[in-house]
């Protein structure tokens, strides 16, 4: 009798427990998590940068959750591999929106991929914060009310580097670009910055993407005796062209300038090839000496990643997710329209000093660091650049909203 009774009670308790405890838990899990989709190219040539972006984005998520989330609602990052392919990125974005029901999307690491994600997200009214460079994404017709751009634009980057280089190293310039969107947009930016300074363009040369031999171009450049050689190419092209220019002895007479010096490329290529090359960057961990927010961010990264330091593009992963969550906190809601309104004009200091989201095109107004690669006096293995100058955050340095087609 008592035996049967115990069995009955325990069964009943079990049922009660499952219905009372489990059911609301399921409902709560579905409703309350703030999901942020994060498509980045984990496989492919930018895999190193993409993995760092994920590591940094997770720090932003952890920060938000430790601070109590949005009234107890936690944030969650859904990472997807876009394989550096716009078609795959569009498919993954559809999956994130339709299947995983994300509230927001941040990510991407190429111009075409971010435009693909943006196109899918804007059609469905989902907020997207891009963390890679593009001029088009903040201009019409690609831009939409739900499009945000955390990264710098090529126009801003090239302008900042150009103003510094033309002032300090001379006005006689040779341009050498990889013949595709990145090279073309960067050179346009250099020319726009150089025109009022009266630069003299000795030659404007192009090479196909993926060139391995620059020996036909370099003697010609050498004979022109420019003050500055602007190399608007990226990744492996940049490594090879700089190395060959060094071997030709071009550095004796000419300053080599690149719009972007990647921290990860510099680590991979070694000190000698990049010695003395000038470039721009959105972030370098070394600014922590006089930027408290950078110090705080670096420390969190070090703690989570075996004392390493964050890379430039990696840090953008942190900033991209953090801006969205700052918008969520400010709006007190995850409703897209409210978060958009909260992010417009948002002033913040996430990791690199003061930034502001320009209301008219949702571009993050931010500083650009002019850095020089060094091979001597390195404090540790991560100490690879000197920060020569900081081009302060100023909306004047961006393309005007009118030029971008905004009313």
């Amino acid at each position: 009798m008592s035996h049967a009774m115990t069995a009955q009670i325990s069964r009943r308790t079990l049922l009660a427990a499952s219905s009372v405890l489990a059911m609301p838990a399921i409902v709560r899990a579905q409703d309350s998590t703030i999901k942020i989709g994060f498509p980045v190219p984990l496989t492919g040539p930018y895999g190193t940068e993409a993995k760092d972006q994920v590591a940094c984005a997770q720090i932003a998520i952890a920060e938000f959750n430790e601070a109590g989330g949005l009234g107890g609602r936690k944030a969650e990052l859904l990472v997807r591999d876009d394989k550096l392919d716009p078609g795959e990125a569009a498919t993954r974005t559809l999956e994130l929106i339709e299947n995983d029901r994300v509230s927001f999307i941040a990510g991407s690491l190429s111009a075409s991929v971010q435009l693909a994600i943006n196109n899918v997200a804007k059609q469905r009214g989902i907020l997207f914060n891009s963390i890679s460079q593009s001029d088009q994404i903040v201009a019409l017709p690609d831009w939409s009310k739900t499009t945000f751009h955390e990264a710098m634009t090529p126009y801003l980057t090239a302008g900042a580097v150009g103003r510094y280089a033309f002032k300090n190293f001379g006005k006689k310039v040779v341009f050498l670009r990889a013949d595709y969107a990145y090279g073309n947009e960067m050179i346009d930016g250099f020319k726009a910055a150089g025109a009022p300074m009266g630069i003299e363009v000795l030659a404007d040369l192009r090479h196909p993407l993926g060139t391995t031999d620059y020996s036909t171009l370099l003697p010609r450049i050498q004979s022109l005796k420019p003050d500055i050689l602007v190399l608007a190419n990226f990744g492996r092209d940049q490594q090879i062209s700089i190395k060959q220019a060094t071997d030709f002895g071009l550095k004796k007479t000419t300053k080599i300038v690149a719009p972007i010096l990647l921290y990860t490329s510099r680590l991979a290529a070694g000190a000698q090839a990049f010695e003395g090359v000038i470039g721009g960057t959105s972030y370098y961990w070394g600014i922590e000496a006089n930027t408290p927010s950078a110090k705080a961010f670096n420390d969190k990264y070090r703690k989570a990643n075996e004392n390493r330091v964050p890379s430039d593009y990696g840090a953008l992963g942190y900033a991209g997710v953090r801006s969205i969550l700052a918008g969520v906190t400010r709006a007190g809601s995850t409703d897209t329209a409210k978060v958009v309104a909260a992010m417009e004009g948002l002033k913040y200091d996430s990791y690199k000093g003061a930034q502001e989201i320009r209301s008219c095109d949702h571009q993050s107004v931010q500083s650009v660091f002019i850095i020089e690669s060094k091979s001597k006096d390195m404090a540790n293995q991560y100490d690879v650049f000197n920060v020569l100058a900081t081009d302060a955050a100023n909306a004047e340095n961006l393309r005007s909203c009118k030029d971008e087609g905004h009313a």
Binding site: L42, T43, G47, K51, R80, D81, K83, D85, P86, G87, A90, T91, L94, E95, E98, N99, A111, S112, L115, A116, N118, N119, V120, Q123, R124, Q136, P141, D142, Y180, A181
Partner: protein
């Protein structure tokens, strides 16, 4: 036990069975967008298989036909504000037009030469699209192929809804399957196989081999162009990668994986490949290793492709 004429019945009603499968298919997939992708690549592989499996000519330039369809549809909608049906029609015709152009130049060659000439010509199309930035968006791809609602016969349906989008695409795929089935069952289909089996004998029987090949290439272009147009509408963009030679390689792989020369094999190949790629890449960044190993295993254990080997087993 299955009735003895079960396989024969299935073969006779292959279109009906395929359509029945298409209807339940999205319920079996992890998410709808991948189901649509499988249909689109399946259709693309189907068009390719007409050349490769049925006619016996290996083309390495089918990306040009697929991409031409996608760009024709995209450009019609973005630059000319064309309605959705005109985009699909334009894509199909665009695929056929590029196929006619490439076919006219490539069809006189055979074997490895045919593969090389089609590859070279498709790369020409790629660089043409790459340079014509004003029309194609160049390296950034064509954006803004946004289709939110489809109006037909007085009804307006929501194309943004994932399941609706799937069934709209499935409708066109089913239509293509029906047309292909009729083509293969026609005397023209028999001529295609005759040319594949013995070119000299087909010629001796009085068939114009070159014209047959040209016709087949243009029809193949129609199917691939339709697939491209559907992809443009599905993804709302046309990436330049659509025209790249890797896309040509992808469709060869899908057709081989599924089973060349089988009716439904291309869909099986596209499905297995895309599912593997998507599911494995969710839990490891080394997905290429596993997908590669799976491909090697398929080649070793299913020499006639997955579907082809299954059919062989049934026939015994």
């Amino acid at each position: 036990m299955l009735p003895p004429n079960f396989v024969a019945t299935c073969k006779r009603h292959r279109v009906v069975l395929s359509i029945a499968f298409l209807i339940v298919f999205p319920l079996l997939m992890p998410f709808k967008a991948i189901a649509v992708n499988i249909l689109i690549y399946g259709l693309f592989a189907l068009g390719f298989n007409l050349m490769f499996g049925t006619l016996g000519l290996l083309s390495f330039g089918h990306a040009a036909l697929f991409g031409a369809g996608a760009y024709a549809c995209g450009i019609a909608i973005v630059h000319f504000g064309a309605p959705w049906w005109a985009g699909i029609l334009g894509g199909t015709l665009g695929g056929m037009a590029i196929a006619a152009l490439i076919g006219a130049l490539a069809i006189r060659t055979r074997g490895i030469y045919f593969a090389m000439v089609t590859l070279a010509l498709s790369q020409c199309v790629y660089f043409l699209a790459y340079q014509a930035t004003a029309w194609t968006g160049g390296e950034n791809g064509l954006r803004g192929v946004e289709l939110s609602r489809i109006a037909a016969f007085g009804h307006s349906i929501n194309f943004v809804d994932p399941l609706t989008r799937y069934y709209v695409v499935a409708f066109f795929v089913a239509l293509a399957l029906f047309i292909l089935s009729r083509i293969l069952a026609s005397p023209f289909g028999a001529v295609l196989e005759a040319v594949r089996e013995n070119e000299a004998r087909a010629r001796a029987c009085g068939y114009d081999v070159r014209a047959t090949r040209f016709m087949a290439f243009v029809i193949s272009g129609g199917f691939c162009g339709l697939a491209g147009a559907l992809q443009a509408l599905h993804l709302s963009i046309v990436p330049i990668e659509t025209l790249y030679y890797q896309t040509s390689g992808l469709v060869v792989m899908m057709a081989l994986l599924g089973g060349m020369g089988t009716f439904f094999g291309p869909f099986v190949g596209a499905g297995v490949f895309l599912l593997l790629e998507n599911l494995v890449s969710l839990w490891t960044v080394h997905w290429q290793l596993f997908v590669g190993a799976a491909f090697v295993a398929c080649v070793l254990f299913f020499p006639r492709g997955i579907w082809g080997t299954l059919l062989m087993g049934r026939a015994k």
